[in-house]
Symmetry: C2
Subunit: 88 residues, 2 copies
């Protein structure tokens, strides 16, 4: 079965996020004073072939830990759902 | 009222995504042949002060269009939800 996973890799809350700070300031300079605390990270989508949703989740967690996030600076969250294929 | 918005800015499906292609290849080289079609974009979170959820959504859509995404290369999606503050 084919699954699709949505992964968010975000800078840890305890750390400064210079890119987010820059965008917050740009928004203020453009008249959006009501926006605060912008944080910017990565959004990753991927397709994965697995026997079950549990197996897919296990594999996605493994690649998040091994390859997609840097634990010193980032945290990750993900969802896995079955890929809907349209036929007929 | 304070709201929190989660925004995904992703490369358009019709376009090549070199960063995603590189990560797909890295995953294959690390033994994850079952992963395909990795795409990488930005995940942005922000806090917004607004009178209602509708007003917050309207404002977030406006800043997505004006400042956060490049329509030539990217699409965006977002959700808005009330910020839960813990008191007591």
């Amino acid at each position: 079965m084919k699954f699709i996973s949505d992964i968010d890799v975000m800078p840890l809350k305890a750390l400064l996020d210079p890119q987010g700070k820059a965008v917050t300031m740009t928004l203020h300079n453009n008249g959006y004073a009501e926006i605060e605390n912008v944080r910017i990270g990565k959004h990753i989508t991927l397709e994965i072939e697995a026997e079950s949703k549990d197996a897919a989740e296990k594999k996605v967690r493994e690649i998040c830990i091994r390859l997609l996030h840097n634990p010193v600076m980032e945290g990750y969250q993900f969802t896995v759902s079955e890929l809907q294929t349209h036929t007929g």
